[in-house]
């Protein structure tokens, strides 16, 4: 039976991904800071889908622990997916370095730190799939969330570089740009219903993308074109907009 490692397993998106892959008979390795909070999900996956689910303590911001964390896993997962992220508050982050650092370290440094370890292992084994959940916010910096956006931009660039490098070893890297998703992270935001996906739709898109070895997927297809338009607005106009 194949297995998938889910980094940042307590988010709504992670739960949907875990259920989707468990339904397809993958064993699930759930990694998060607070593993006690994942015990219910662990039971749920095992009872619903008859797969094996295990819990592993993982803190994205404790970069030095990542290699040891990966070595401590009971097996090398066939797929590793990095789901964790931290939206934070832009205005707070402008004044408070703690907040800015947390946004950067969770979304970028932490992701690079753990995926470097996974990439080395997969490269040496010449197989495996790495999936990174980035964000459309990383495609162009906007005043409302450019600290988060810049960290995700870095992550997107990291994933594309990694994809380029690992291609030659037979390892596949897929980037996911979910757009708006209904989750606890976005619960306080007014999201346009047409543009917003359910976590289950993200999970379904990831499953399909992995089957077809896609490079970059947008969960709702029109995000690709929305971002294309946003990226082509000339800077002298863009800087005047309140986005």
């Amino acid at each position: 039976m194949s297995s998938i490692l889910i980094l940042g397993a307590s988010s709504d998106m992670a739960v949907a991904i875990a259920r989707k892959f468990a339904k397809e008979k993958y064993n699930i390795l759930l990694a998060a800071r607070n593993t006690a909070a994942l015990e219910a999900l662990q039971q749920d996956l095992q009872i619903r889908f008859g797969v094996n689910a295990t819990l592993h303590a993982f803190d994205a911001e404790r970069f030095d622990s990542h290699a040891a964390f990966y070595r401590s896993l009971p097996l090398q997962p066939d797929i590793t997916i990095s789901v964790f992220g931290y939206l934070g508050e832009q205005e707070k982050a402008q004044q408070d370095w703690q907040e800015a650092a947390r946004i950067i370290h969770t979304n970028y440094t932490g992701a690079v730190a753990i995926l470097n370890v996974v990439a080395e292992d997969y490269a040496s084994r010449k197989k495996g799939i790495i999936v990174g959940i980035s964000s459309v916010a990383g495609e162009r910096g906007r005043q409302s969330n450019y600290i988060y956006g810049s960290a995700k931009a870095g992550f997107t660039a990291y994933l594309s570089g990694l994809r380029n490098r690992l291609f030659h070893t037979g390892v596949h890297v897929m980037s996911v740009q979910p757009g708006f998703v209904y989750t606890r992270m976005t619960e306080h935001l007014q999201l346009p219903a047409l543009l917003t996906a359910q976590p289950e739709a993200v999970a379904g898109a990831i499953w399909k993308g992995v089957q077809k070895k896609k490079n970059t997927i947008y969960v709702k297809w029109f995000w690709r074109y929305i971002m294309l338009i946003i990226k082509t607005i000339p800077e002298f106009i863009f800087k005047k907009l309140k986005l």
């Binding site: 307590s10 739960v15 039971q43 749920d44 009872i47 619903r48 619960e187 007014q190 999201l191």
Partner: protein, 446 residues
């Protein structure tokens, strides 16, 4: 986030703040921060019982915690829906002990409404099968209750519309089945007297209910189709079904994608539907073996059938009358048939005995039908309420969106005791809904 919410009847619609939780500490946090809130599951109750200015969505609190498939004991968080449970238990030879006519309700909703099924006369309501459950009270404490532990909380929570607190975990007993099929019998009844006689004749069947044509007058007044059933044994299945007796063939679902304009449903179309429904059974009696889904959940096959009633929405009117009030049933049914506003969905069922504090069922006849919201409807339903009260019956809170408060207080004998228990566990009235305010179970301070 600010949202427009309504339940299955699409009436009423309110603006409210909705928050979800996935961990118990998040729930406690919401309760502390937000006085005046009500738990809401999948929004399949019909009226306003789970609508409030603040809403706590339980849908993400949906994990299965334990399933003892040797002894048929199931334990889960409250936000899981019945269809998800069925997907897990049926292939292992177990079934829900009690199920309402839709599988898209949450287990928390099943408890808060103390749902009944077609087997009430034999197996009681959902609360009869609960081993224990957790309720988070107005102070954010988790209390475990059962018929023998904090029994007052337990009985006020079963059918209590979420007013004692947020139901978070439920452990209940399942029922063993040998196949995923039902051996059903459909019998035509010419009128009300005949269907009541048939209910009596077939009372030993585990499942029974009747579709009743509530528009027909004269000799055919109350003509119906009685449907009774039993879980089929493997021997009763055909060769194809017997290959995998515990799994059903996959089927595509239809969906009504938008609200029908209101002219689609009128007396004529309802009559036409009823005629077709009645006459599709050409023979007097039909016996066959069917998958459990169309037997228990005939309307789930059409997702969003509620949109068929148009934008104004509808109310479902369900009342129960004591067994000796057969004449009362005829009187009310006649009023409905004279008015001609009734729906194609009218369900008649006989309940068995039930002692309960605030749950709906009592030994007697229960009738449920839809009324599209229109001018003059509420005064008409108020008249029906008076009749229900006169005949010693009551209205189902899960379907209510408009009952007057005095009808509630006079028709539910346990109302005063229930309100006392609610005050005790729901300190400061942190849990309240449009319904509980309207019925003055949680009276608004002057």
């Amino acid at each position: 986030m600010e949202k427009r919410l309504s339940n299955w009847g699409n009436y009423p619609v309110i603006s409210c703040e909705e928050q979800a939780f996935t961990q118990e500490d998040q729930l406690q946090d919401i309760i502390h921060r937000q006085p005046g809130t009500i738990a809401r599951g999948n929004g399949r109750c019909y009226g306003d019982a789970s609508l409030g200015i603040h809403s706590i969505s339980t849908l993400k609190y949906d994990k299965i915690l334990a399933f003892d498939d040797e002894n048929g004991v199931f334990e889960c968080q409250s936000g899981i829906t019945l269809d998800q449970i069925l997907d897990v238990i049926v292939p292992k030879g177990w079934f829900l002990p009690v199920t309402p006519g839709t599988k898209y309700i949450t287990i928390g909703g099943a408890v808060a409404s103390d749902v009944h099924g077609k087997n009430h006369h034999v197996e009681g309501s959902f609360s009869n099968h609960i081993i224990d459950m957790d309720v988070v009270n107005g102070e954010g404490q988790t209390l475990t209750c059962s018929p023998s532990r904090d029994a007052d909380l337990f009985w006020a929570t079963c059918g209590g519309m979420g007013l004692t607190g947020v139901i978070t975990r439920v452990m209940f007993r399942l029922k063993a089945i040998d196949t995923a099929y039902i051996k059903q019998k459909q019998i035509k009844a010419r009128n009300l007297d005949e269907v009541i006689r048939l209910f009596e004749e077939y009372k030993d069947y585990t499942y029974s209910m009747a579709w009743i044509d509530c528009l027909k007058k004269g000799d055919a007044f109350g003509r119906s189709i009685l449907i009774v059933g039993e879980h089929a044994t493997p021997e009763e299945l055909n060769a194809r079904q017997r290959q995998s007796p515990l799994s059903l063939p996959a089927k595509k679902k239809l969906s009504i994608p938008f609200n029908f304009p209101s002219f689609v449903l009128n007396t004529f179309s309802v009559k036409a539907f009823n005629w077709l429904y009645y006459n599709k059974n050409i023979r007097q009696e039909i016996n066959n073996v069917v998958p459990y889904e169309p037997f228990f959940y005939p309307l789930d096959a059409i997702l969003h059938w509620n949109r068929g009633y148009g934008k104004a929405g509808f109310v479902q009117y369900q009342f129960v009358l004591p067994l000796e009030q057969k004449e009362g049933l005829a009187t009310i049914l006649r009023r409905i048939s004279d008015k001609g506003w009734g729906s194609f969905l009218a369900v008649l069922k006989v309940f068995g005995r039930q002692e309960s504090l605030i749950s709906f069922p009592m030994e007697g006849y229960t009738l449920a039908l839809d009324f599209p919201v229109r001018k003059g409807l509420f005064p008409f339903l108020d008249e029906l309420d008076e009749l229900v009260l006169q005949f010693g019956g009551r209205i189902y809170l899960s379907k209510d969106a408009r009952m007057k408060r005095e009808i509630f207080w006079q028709s539910y004998p346990g109302a005063t005791r229930f309100a006392e228990i609610v005050r005790h566990y729901n300190a400061g009235q942190r849990f309240r809904s449009l319904q509980s305010d309207r019925l003055q179970i949680t009276p608004v301070a002057e």
